[in-house]
Amino acid sequence: MIHSLFLINTAGDLFLEKHWKSVISRSVCDYFFEAREKAVEPDNVPPVIPTPHHYLITIYREKIFFVSVIQTEVPPLFVIEFLHRVAETFQDYFGECSETTIKDNVVIVYELLEEMLDNGFPLATESNILKELIRPPTILRSMVNTITGSSNVGETLPTGQLSSIPWRRAGVKYTNNEAYFDVVEEIDAILDKSGTTVFAEIQGVIDACVKLSGMPDLTLSFMNPRLLDDVSFHPCVRYKRWESERVISFIPPDGNFQLMSYHISAQNLVAIPIYVKQNISFFETGSSGRLDITVGPKQTMGKTVECLVVTIHMPKVVLSANLNATQGTYNYDPVTKILLWDIGKLNPQKLPNLKGSLSLQSGAPKPEENPSLNIDLKIQQLAISGLKVNRLDMYGEKYKPFKGVKYVTKAGKFQVRT
């Protein structure tokens, strides 16, 4: 299936290659460079590029292109999903997935790639198994390693791979047994000029951090499971129990993982926490424009909106912005043409406002379209859909775990058209 993998940075340097079958010359990447050039934006590089003898399937992540070489028919999503899993594994191992960390840990990266694919077919992709095979670097361990000269490779052979629960390793022990669940909801919305909702939905995930000894069997139940419209689960979740009882029953992997994601699409259930009053206009003459934006709270359920950021991709002709913000700071980058207004906490008494003039390239025609605003925000202690975890029960182990649930609402792809 996957023949080879090349990692290429945004500058076009090929900094890592790995072959699972016979070596394929790196010149195959020329086709990729060609497409990359044509696409202008890295986002626009087609994920699948056919070449005379191979197919290149590419993902772009963390400023790195993962270019895989395929020779025969394979579901493209299979490869794409796998490449993302590779990136996630790097992230898991090194804290971030960047060119520097990959270069710094090149041996571990190579070992990981070796374990994850055999002859191009995925072998071990569960992070728990991989961590048994290849220990992730930690500061302490790397120090010890440099002193003693040992390395990260496990001394003992893993057993987890062979157990019936492939995602959990055996013999986990903690002194503090704790299980934390973060319910994170993101609002995806499109608001039109007048402020009416064109489209809104909630994408939620439950991230878990479970550090429990032994083989705990957990059951998580909700106060209002019927809210959840469409769900997808980590493989550990017993689907049948969800179907019949609407509870989430699972033997958790060790450590951090995403338990489930869900989707609430009924529009009337989606509360829009803020409103935006905006007025952006460009004048026909004088190469200038005006901008006036006010943000105010709408349905915040009594919580404060934090980390409020407004991002505007300005038309190319906008040279600079001379604005005045009543709250927070703004910054206009004339190269990327991005205006960023970092408001911070939203104060309902005194609404933040950004006002001023824009200067345009002289002689250029005025832009036809007003740029749309992208909003970022965060509301702590609130799941905007109203989803509530009812209880978490543990079976199979004797000790009493410490349990915690946290709710956060964020803006996802939240866009205001102007």
């Binding site: 299936m1 626009n44 028919e73 999503l77 993302h84 390395s151």
Partner: protein, 1119 residues
């Protein structure tokens, strides 16, 4: 840390001599490389592991950067036997990379791997095989072959998985090994661990994807394992099964495709009809063949459905494409939600999903309509995503939603992304052609765009307007005029050409402007693009034909210019047109028709999606994405005209555990022409299941069964009488047979179980054997009899498919279905072949069992009974007088829906720990009731319900019977649940009588006594009673008891009692059974005494059950 330092070293090296990595052949490198590699060699040769490790790390870092490290091969390969695991691993990495280039040296390492293959640690065995098969050296092919074969029968599933991975490696190295490899694949396909399944199917796909015959026997297993296979394996298996299903099953939409032209209405109509088809296979449906879904087909759909919830987009997509290609139209809709969910994922995932959604939305627009808004475009989306979303939106547009879509499009047109704007304009054009109502609105909108400042926008609009105008040119001469004026400003050739064509085509609508335009164009002719020149010639010709007075000279001029054009196409066209339109002496017959030729009415173009008909590629595949066949793509076959023999998928249950020992048997079976139609799908094992009940209940399966069909109720009374007459004779027979069975039992166990005895019998038989052998179960025996309990996983699916049939069959069950007749014949023949015995009607493989009068087939006369009647009772029994029906829902409270249930006493095959409850729905209303299903079961702790499949439609006046399973946990607590229709919910509750919580068990008298001996004291409950007036003979007593509780009678055994014709003065009746859920024995003894008195004893570990049972039986007997 050390690894990083290694890397930096490398970087440092390349910084000073940058040409290294790129040109390893140049001389300078070798010298300096050689130097540097010298110290690495030294390190590798040292005895310190830490130095070796350091060296290996640096080498691996070199490999990672694509540098040549091949000259280190001899130094590295020495370390393959290194004890240090870390060093070893890195050496492996190196070997796999360079072995191909240094074949001779690589051979040095082989012996290490061969040793590794024998290691007691499975992980070492696996990794040895992995590396051995990864070094691509042709000379070791035989060694690899041997290693793979050996590993394929390794104890450890992990090693077997590695073997499966090695198969494609060897195949690509040496394709000549294919035949041998296929054998290994066949063997591994039979493996039942989830770890192996994905890998072996992958090997199958790479080595022999056309050997679909290898899948047959493993099909059901794969379906059942699917949910537990790791995600990557799931994708491969699902894709393979899609292809498999396309060759093996019938098109579920076959009836619809006949009606496709009638579109919407036909869609609903046929939908209903399909339902009916399902319900009633016999009903004569005019013209069309009724379609019945193969249970295996259903199984696949059912088992893949939960995977739509997978977190892995590839799995979701695989299931989606499976549903799209295989599911009945009505069910495909469920995939939409999951696909829409994927759109939240990474943009690459989005891209692929949208491609597939675009294809799907053409065929099944309704599916995605509810999610229309999810395809709305954000300004931050990458252009390629925007264009795909636009495609989907356009496909989804229809009369009802067009206004919202157009409003969206309007915002898109203002976007800064010009490619996207152009695509939006085209999308508007497509909507306008497809939906007549909005054509004018769209046209007006587009005309407004003509004044846009962006030339590209204008050009695109012109092209689209041209296409739209062709549909109704008369009304739009204004627009044509407007466009004619624009031609001076528009530079995009395609747009200019379009305008010229329009003017030429409709020159009669704009008689004044047209010649003027031609005049202008003639001036600039030489500077135009080819495509524009052609249109100028075209325009000239058309004008010449319609308005030759004004344009004759102009035309001549243009043609002359064209005559000397550089482009031969244009010269050619000019010559051709001149001959055609300018009448000369020589001009042929054609010029008469010139006007007709040029001004013929042209059909309006159809604006089609580029995704149309892409679905002939399997969705989700690379080929589909590229719209071109990729290497190694397996065509999705067309549905077969008629389904191939479904029995090929039948697998004997023992096969799961011991496939080799049974080979001969399997073959024998395959040859037999099994049931030729739908019934056959359930296969011998399943049908045996359903049969078992009729057989099991009957006095002795030995001789009598053929007549007593389980579904027949009327016969019972007659045969009861007959039976009494025959009593004596029967007893003789029975004894005779008993002896025989006893002698034969162990043999029977293994040979006949698949053929004639269902799980029920088998269990009973097993008990018997167990007892005989004093509970020492040999392994093979347990395997063969396991079907009911341990190997649920496997048998479950088959039995479920059985349930399906059951449902479909119900309405027919009144008349014994033909095929079962045939079958019974078969069965009998088969059996008489098997036990070469003298008694004539003699099917009789089952051990002698006492009569269970109630449960089904009645014992009737022994001899000479026709072979035609079925032994194979349909699994839903027709409710007869003898089985008590309970009311679940009265037709008044149920608003016309009446629901009754009874305990059918059939074993519930999907789960042997459940009590089968047969539910009959009758619709007494005038309208149809839809979506009958169960919701919100409220159960006592431990209780479980297996719901029946939802009944889609129950038409007025119809009734339908389904079977559901309830595990009451051996308590008489009621199972509460809600019965839902499409409109209402009703509360319902099923409370079992204690007697229904058990299932008959066969015990010999001796065994019975032995077991009873173990259940004394607290476990024994004894009561005295006086028999009712009617309980005068054996028959009535037995009947009463078995009616109360689902028990089987213990034959009054071996000795004297039966040998003398008149029953002994104080007969003792014994009954045995076990509780369904926990399998506790329930033993009932009724010893009659003189004067109608009797003593009733119940031995049961569960005292509560015992007490209740005593009460119930007392009541039954004393009436």
């Amino acid at each position: 840390m050390s690894a990083s330092s290694a890397f930096i070293d490398e970087k440092g090296g390349s910084a000073s001599e940058p040409e290294y990595g790129h040109d390893p052949a140049s001389g300078g490198i070798f010298s300096s490389d050689y130097k540097r590699h010298d110290d690495l060699k030294e390190m590798l040769d040292s005895n310190k592991d830490s130095l070796k490790l350091e060296a290996m790390k640096r080498i691996v870092a070199m490999i990672a950067r694509g540098k040549n490290a091949s000259d280190l091969f001899p130094a590295v390969v020495k370390n393959v036997a290194c004890k240090n695991i870390e060093v070893k691993k890195l050496v492996y990495v190196y070997l796999v990379r360079y072995a191909e280039e240094q074949q001779d040296l690589a051979l040095l390492s082989i012996s290490t791997f061969q040793r590794g293959l024998k290691d007691p640690n499975q992980l070492i065995r696996a990794s040895a095989l992995r590396v051995l098969s990864s070094i691509r050296v042709t000379i070791i092919v035989p060694i690899m072959m041997l290693a793979i074969k050996e590993a394929a029968s390794d104890m450890s599933p992990y090693v077997r998985k590695t073997a499966a991975h090695a198969i494609p490696k060897l195949h690509s190295l040496d394709p000549d090994q294919k035949d041998q490899l296929i054998e290994v694949i066949e063997k591994l396909l039979a493996d039942k661990t989830t770890l192996v399944a994905g890998s072996v199917v992958m090997a199958f796909e790479e080595v022999c994807p056309d050997r679909i015959d290898l899948i047959h026997k493993n099909y059901r297993k794969l379906c059942n394992l699917l949910i537990d296979v790791e995600e990557w394996g799931q994708v491969v298996i699902i894709n393979m099964l899609t292809r498999y299903a396309r060759t093996q099953f019938l098109n579920p939409n076959i009836n619809e495709s006949l009606l496709e032209e009638n579109s919407e209405k036909a869609f609903y109509a046929s939908d209903d009809e399909e339902e009916e088809d399902k319900k009633d296979e016999v009903a004569p449906l005019a013209k069309r063949k009724p379609y019945v879904m193969d249970p295996d087909h259903r199984l696949l759909l059912r088992n893949t459905k939960p995977l739509l919830q997978s977190r892995n987009a590839a799995v979701v997509m695989a299931v989606a494409q499976l549903y799209f290609h295989l599911a009945p139209k009505a069910e495909v809709g469920i995939i939409a939600k999951a696909l829409v969910r994927l759109m939240r994922s990474h943009s690459e995932v989005q891209y692929v999903v949208l491609q597939n959604v675009a294809t799907m939305s053409i065929k099944r627009r309704g599916m995605f309509e509810p999610y229309l808004k999810s395809f709305y475009i954000r300004s931050t989306d990458p252009t390629q995503i925007k264009i795909l979303k636009l495609e989907v939106l356009t496909n989804l547009a229809n009369e009802t939603n067009i206004s919202t879509i157009l409003r969206e499009f309007q915002t898109y047109i203002k976007s800064m992304d010009k490619d996207f704007v152009a695509a939006s304009i085209q999308a508007i054009g497509r909507c306008a052609t497809n939906i007549g109502e909005v054509r004018d609105t769209c046209l007006n909108g587009l005309v407004q765009l003509l004044s846009n400042r962006d030339e590209l926008v204008v050009a695109e609009s012109v092209v689209v307007i041209k296409k739209l105008l062709q549909m109704q040119p008369e009304q739009h001469s204004d627009i044509i005029k407007h466009m004619a004026k624009l031609i001076d400003n528009i530079q995009v050739p395609m747009a200019r050409a379009s305008i010229l064509w329009l003017i030429g085509e409709y020159c009669e609508h704009v008689p004044k402007i047209a010649p003027d335009v031609l005049r202008n164009m003639a001036k600039t002719f030489t500077n135009e693009e080819d495509i524009v020149k052609l249109q100028i010639i075209n325009l000239a010709a058309k004008l010449y034909l319609t308005n030759s007075k004004q344009t004759k000279l102009l035309t001549q001029y243009v043609l002359n210019l064209a005559k000397y054009d550089q482009n031969y196409d244009i010269r050619d066209r000019a010559r051709f047109i001149r001959q055609l339109i300018v009448p000369t002496d020589k001009s042929g017959a054609l010029s008469k028709y010139a006007k007709k030729l040029f001004l013929a009415l042209k059909p309006a173009p159809v604006l089609e999606s580029t995704f149309k008909d892409r679905d002939h590629f399997q969705l989700g595949s690379l080929s589909h994405l590229l719209n071109a066949k990729a290497g190694g793509y397996q065509e999705l076959p067309d549905w077969p005209e008629s389904a191939p023999d479904p029995s090929v998928r039948n697998v004997e249950i023992p096969d799961w555990s011991k496939c080799t020992s049974r080979k001969d048997r399997k073959e024998k079976k395959a040859e037999k022409p099994f049931y030729s139609d739908s019934d056959g799908e359930s296969g011998p094992t399943e049908s045996a299941d359903s049969e078992s009940d009729s057989g099991s209940g009957s006095e002795s399966a030995s001789a009598s069964d053929e007549s007593g069909s389980g579904s027949e109720s009327g016969e019972e009374t007659e045969s009861e009488e007959e039976e009494e007459d025959e009593e004596e004779e029967k007893k003789k027979k029975r004894k005779k047979h008993l002896d025989k069975t006893k002698a034969k039992k162990p043999v029977e166990e293994s040979t006949e179980s698949e053929q004639s005895s269902g799980s029920e019998e088998r269990k009973r038989g097993r008990k018997a054997v167990k007892n005989q052998k004093s509970a020492s179960e040999s392994e093979s025996e347990s395997e063969s009899s396991e079907s009911g309990d341990e190997s649920e996983d496997e048998s479950e699916e088959e039995s479920e498919s059985d349930t399906d049939i059951r449902k479909k069959k119900t309405p027919v069950s009144k008349q014994p279905p033909k095929q079962s007749k045939k079958e019974s014949k078969k069965e009998t023949q088969e059996m008489s072949l098997l036990d070469l015995d003298d008694f004539e009607p003699a099917p009789a493989s089952a051990p002698v069992t006492p009569v269970n009068f109630m449960s089904s087939s009645l014992v009737s006369d022994l001899e000479g009974l026709s072979l035609t009647d079925t032994i194979l009772a349909p699994t839903t029994i027709t409710p007869s007088g003898s089985i008590k029906m309970y009311e679940l829902l009265h037709r008044i409270t149920g608003e016309g829906l009446a629901v009754e249930y009874c305990f059918s006493r059939q074993p519930f095959s999907p789960d042997p720990n459940m009590v089968a409850v047969q539910i009959q729905f009758t619709n007494n209303t005038n309208s149809e009731t839809k979506n009958l299903h169960i919701e919100e079961p409220r159960l006592q702790c431990g209780m479980r319900i297996r719901e029946f499949a939802e009944i889609d439609v129950l038409s007025a006046g119809e009734s339908v019977t389904v079977v559901m399973g309830i595990d009451f946990c051996d308590s008489t607590q009621a199972a509460n649940f809600q019965l839902c229709t499409h409109t209402r919910k009703f509360f319902a509750s099923i409370q079992p009588p204690v007697g229904e919580l058990m299932t008959p068990v066969f015990l010999t008298e001796n065994d019975f006594k032995k077991e009873q001996g173990k259940l004394m004291g607290m476990n024994e409950i004894s009561e005295k009673l006086t028999l009712g007036e009617k309980c005068v003979n054996e028959h009535v007593i037995v009947e009463r008891v078995t009616a109360t509780a689902n028990l089987s009678r213990v034959p009054c055994g071996s000795d004297k009692e039966c040998s003398t014709p008149p029953p002994p003065p104080a007969p003792v009746y014994r009954f045995a059974g076990k509780t369904v859920s926990s399998g506790c024995l329930v033993l009932v003894t009724v010893s009659t005494k003189e004067g109608g008195r009797a003593q009733l004893t119940v031995n049961c570990e569960k005292m509560l059950i015992g007490t209740m049972l005593v009460k119930d039986i007392m009541q039954a007997l004393s009436q």
